[in-house]
Amino acid sequence: MKKLALFAIIVLIFGTMSPTLVNHAYGQNDPSILLRIAVQADKQIVNQLDKKYENKIPNNINILYDKGHTAVKSLDQSLSINDIEKAKQDFLLAMNSFMQISRIMSQSSEKVVVVTVSENSTQNLQSKLDRLEKFVKTLESISKKHNKIEQNRDEFTKAYSLIENIRNQINSGENTFENINDLKNLVNSIKKEIRNSIAEKQSNAIKNFFEKFLAQIDQKLIEAKDLDRNQIKIDKANELIVEIRELLSKNQINDAKKVYSELKIVLKDIGISVKIT
C-alpha cells in the first residue's frame, strides 16, 4: 500500500511538473536555428556596413562587429560540441552586438516613429488591404460556422471583388481612398449582418446561461438570509433577479445585461461573490 502510494505521489509530482519540462525541451529541439538566425544577421550587417560606409567603417562599429562575428563563430563551435548553454550565450552576445550596430547606424538618419496607419505608401496600402482581407476571412469563417454563408454570399463576393480592385489600383498607382472606404463600410455591414443573423441563437445561449446563473444566485441569497445578512439588500437583489427574468422572457437581452450589472453591485454589498462555481 505504501509503495503504491509512494509511486502515485511520484507520478503526480512528475505529472504536475512535466508541462514545464516539455516547454524547456522544446527550445532545445533544434539549436541550429540559433546559428541560422545569427549567420543571417551577420550577413545583413555586413551588407548594411558596406552600403553605408564602404571601407570607412567607424572604429566603435568595427569593434562591435568583431565581437558579434567572433560570437557567431563560437556559436558554431559550441553547437558542434553540443554545448547548448554556451551556444545560447554566444547567440545572445552576437545578436546584441549586431543590434547595437544597427541602432548606431540608424540613429544618424531619422527619428523613431511608431508606425501609424496614416502613411499612404504602396507598402502601407498593401498592408492595410491585407489586414482588411484577413478581417473579411475571419467574418467569413464565423458566417460558415453558423451556416449563414449563403445568406451573406453576395456581400462576401462583393468584398473580395473590391479587394481585388484595390490591389490592382495599388499596383497601377491609382487612388484607392474611395474603394478602401467602401470596403471598410461593407465589412462593418457584414459584421452587423452576421450579428443580427445569429442574434436569436446567441440570445438563447445567453438566456440559458442566465437561467443557470440566476438559479445559483437564488440559492446563495437563501443562504445569505440564513446568515442574517442585510435583508434590504437581499430583497433588492431578489427584485433585480425578477426584473432580469422578465427582461429575458421579453428577449430584451441588452437591458437584462444592464440590470445584471446593478445586481452584481448589490451582491457584492451582501457579500456574495459573483463568481459562482
Partner: protein, 340 residues
C-alpha cells in the same frame, strides 16, 4: 505501573501463540493518512493547471505586416461562470477587433484605452483578433518590434525581412511562405529587422551551403540513424498490428486513389467532431494531403488549435503526419480501423 506502548513496527515477532495487538494509530497511519495524502495530491495536481489556465492566453500568434502594423490573434481560457472578462490589449491603436466565444458567437466588447471588457456569458474559451500599430517602431531603415508578452508566442515576420538583433532566445523558427516565423518565450522581447532584397529562402539556402562537409556528414548520419530507427519501429508496429488484426472487426483498404473516400471515413469514425470532418473534407479535396499551415490558413485557426485538431485525427487513425521542409504534412491514411 506505567504502560509502555511500543510502535507496531518495532515489536518483535510474537510467535504463533502470541496475541497480536495492533495500535489504532498505526492503522490510521497506513490505511487513512496515505490515501488522504494521495487524494490531496490528486486535487492539487488537478487544480494547478486549471488555476494557471484561466486568464492566461493558451495561444498567442502575431503577424507583422510590411508597414509595421501587427495582427494579434489570441485564444484565452476564461471562467465559464463569469459574465465578463477584462483583457489587456497590447496598445491602444486598435483596428478590426473581433472577439469570438466558444460557440462561434461574436461577443460584445467595450474598449477603454488598452483594456477590453468582453461579455463572455458562459464562454470557456474566447478568441480575440485585432490589428495594432503600437508594437513596431521605425528608425531610419531599422524596424524594431517590442513586446512584453504574458505567454509564449509565435511571430511571423514580413517577407524579405532580415533579423539583425534580438534580445531573447527563440524557441523555434520556421519558414512559412518565405517568411520567418519565430516562436518566442514570454517576457520582454525586442527584435530588430531590416528589409533586404534577397529573400529569406535564399539566405537560408546560403547558410545551409556554408556549413562544412563534416557537419553535413554528421547530419546525414543522424538522419540515416533516424530513418533506420523509424524503419525498425515501422516493422515492429506492422508485426504487432498483424497480430492484432484478428481482434479488429474490420480493416478497410480501398485501392482506388490510394485513399479512403469520405463516406467510408465518416462511417468508420461516426463520432468525429463536425469541425474535424471539415478538416478531413479539405484534405480529401486536396488529393488526400495538406500542410498544417495550409489548414490553419484555410480554417483561420491559431497554431495550437489546429495542432490539437491534427493530433486528434492522428489519434483517431484518420490521418498520419509527415515532416516536409520543416513543416507538418497531414495525409489521410490509406487504411483505417473501424471503431468498435
Amino acid at each position: 505501573m506505567s504502560l509502555l506502548i511500543e510502535p507496531i513496527q518495532s515489536k518483535k515477532s510474537l510467535g504463533d501463540e502470541g496475541i497480536l495487538f495492533v495500535r489504532n494509530d498505526s492503522i490510521f497511519d497506513t490505511m487513512v493518512k496515505v490515501p488522504l495524502l494521495v487524494a490531496s495530491m490528486i486535487i492539487v495536481a488537478a487544480l494547478l493547471p486549471i488555476q494557471s489556465s484561466f486568464s492566461s492566453p493558451r495561444d498567442l500568434d502575431l503577424i507583422i505586416y510590411p508597414d509595421g502594423s501587427t495582427h494579434v490573434s489570441t485564444e484565452i481560457d476564461v471562467d465559464p461562470f463569469l459574465t465578463d472578462y477584462e483583457v489587456n490589449l497590447f496598445g491602444n491603436t486598435i483596428d478590426n477587433l473581433v472577439v469570438i466565444g466558444d460557440s462561434g458567437f461574436l461577443l460584445d466588447v467595450d474598449v477603454i484605452d488598452d483594456t477590453a471588457l468582453i461579455q463572455t456569458f458562459g464562454s470557456s474559451v474566447i478568441t480575440i483578433e485585432y490589428d495594432i500599430h503600437d508594437l513596431v517602431s521605425k528608425q531610419g531603415r531599422l524596424w524594431t518590434f517590442s513586446l512584453d508578452s504574458p505567454s509564449d508566442f509565435t511571430l511571423l515576420l514580413p517577407k524579405n525581412s532580415a533579423i539583425v538583433g534580438m534580445t531573447n532566445l527563440p524557441l523555434n523558427m520556421e519558414i512559412i511562405n518565405e517568411q520567418n516565423q519565430l516562436t518566442l518565450s514570454s517576457g520582454s522581447t525586442e527584435i530588430d529587422y531590416f528589409f533586404s532584397i534577397s529573400t529569406i529562402s535564399n539566405t537560408t539556402e546560403e547558410i545551409v551551403n556554408e556549413e562544412d562537409n563534416s557537419s553535413n556528414i554528421i547530419i546525414v548520419g543522424i538522419i540515416g540513424g533516424i530513418i533506420v530507427i523509424a524503419l525498425v519501429s515501422v516493422i515492429i508496429i506492422a508485426k504487432n498490428k498483424q497480430k492484432n488484426v484478428k481482434t479488429i472487426d474490420e480493416v478497410v483498404t480501398i485501392p482506388k486513389n490510394n485513399i479512403l473516400d469520405l463516406e467510408t471515413i465518416f462511417k468508420l469514425k461516426p463520432d468525429l467532431r463536425e469541425d474535424d470532418k471539415e478538416l478531413i473534407k479539405f484534405i480529401f479535396d486536396n488529393n488526400g494531403e495538406a500542410l498544417e499551415s495550409e489548414l490553419r490558413k484555410n480554417f483561420l485557426q491559431p497554431r495550437t488549435t489546429m495542432w490539437r485538431a491534427v493530433k486528434r485525427l492522428e489519434r483517431e487513425g484518420v490521418i498520419e503526419i509527415e515532416k516536409k521542409d520543416l513543416q507538418n504534412l497531414v495525409k489521410l491514411r490509406k487504411s483505417m480501423e473501424e471503431e468498435n
